[in-house]
């Protein structure tokens, strides 16, 4: 496909470059985001960051538990003379 038309467009989200392709599909590229758009994206990034922190803590807890269980299992097997 080829780009048959390129236009500029401004909306509440900012300044876009809009490309129309020969297959009818349009590509809208946000070149200069508006302040409100940036704030919205920052809010979403914060939410994901908070979710990730909780997730990382949970994973770390799981890792510690598994490690401790492994240590206990090794000690038990050693006491039983199996390893």
């Amino acid at each position: 496909m080829k780009i048959i038309k390129t236009e500029n467009e401004t909306t509440e989200h900012g300044e876009f470059k809009v490309q129309t392709q020969s297959n009818g599909i349009k590509v809208r590229i946000l070149k200069k985001p508006s302040a409100s758009y940036k704030a919205k994206m920052a809010k979403r990034a914060e939410a994901e960051k908070a979710r990730q922190v909780i997730e990382d803590e949970r994973l770390e807890r799981e890792r510690l538990i598994k490690e401790r269980m492994r240590d206990i299992a090794i000690k038990q097997l050693e006491n039983e003379g199996k390893i």
Binding site: M1, K2, H13, G14, Q21, S22, N23, G24, I25, K26, V27, R28, I29, L30, K31, P33, Y37, K38, M41, A42, R44, A45, A47, E48, K49, R51, E55, R58, L59, E62, R63
Partner: protein, 231 residues
Amino acid sequence: MSFTAFSYETTIAASEMNDNFIHVAQGNLFPRGGSVLEETNGVYDLGSDSYRWLNTKFNNVHLSGDLDDCWNLIADVILSATASSVEITELNGDVDEIYWIIAKLISNSTGTDYLYLNINNDSSNNYGFQYLIADGASIGAARNETQSAIILTGGGSYGSYGFNETYVYAKSNNERLFLINMFREGGETYIEQLRNYGYIWNNTSDTLTSMQFTVGDYMATNTNIQIWTKR
């Protein structure tokens, strides 16, 4: 319809000539039309459903349209400057049914930044995921049912890479399904994480018409987003 063999220094009737050319014209061999056979562009076929060529031999094929029953590249965005989002519109998920997305994110952020995908501008909590994650020697998994977007990949420091492959089942009357393989924060010989996601968009009624690719900050120059579909 008869076929006339031409003989040296022998004239033939126009109708016989016509019969001969009907044999090849059934397949629209010549890209010409009208009463004076003027040149045409993108009008005539080579062969037809009823009159097919047996085999074709080419060194290269240069297409400006689609290749039937194959994956076709329908959008290929390579950023020539930084951008905050890329939106692909005029899609029709009911017709195309399956999309294959390949995305290479180059981070323009100093910290972790994700490349998100939204469908039809829906940024409500209508997405859910289950993922497997490999981070160094650690392996983890998580589920979430209230996501406002689909995470495709992510970058870390400035210039780091995120790489993604996503298959989308896009037809309506079903939840829309996404199967994602990705790594995030790659650079030099280091990769921070490998993730395998199943995502779901709970909208079953709306035709998928657009995809929004967004980041928290900016995508760097040469970030590449491709969309393929089978046509």
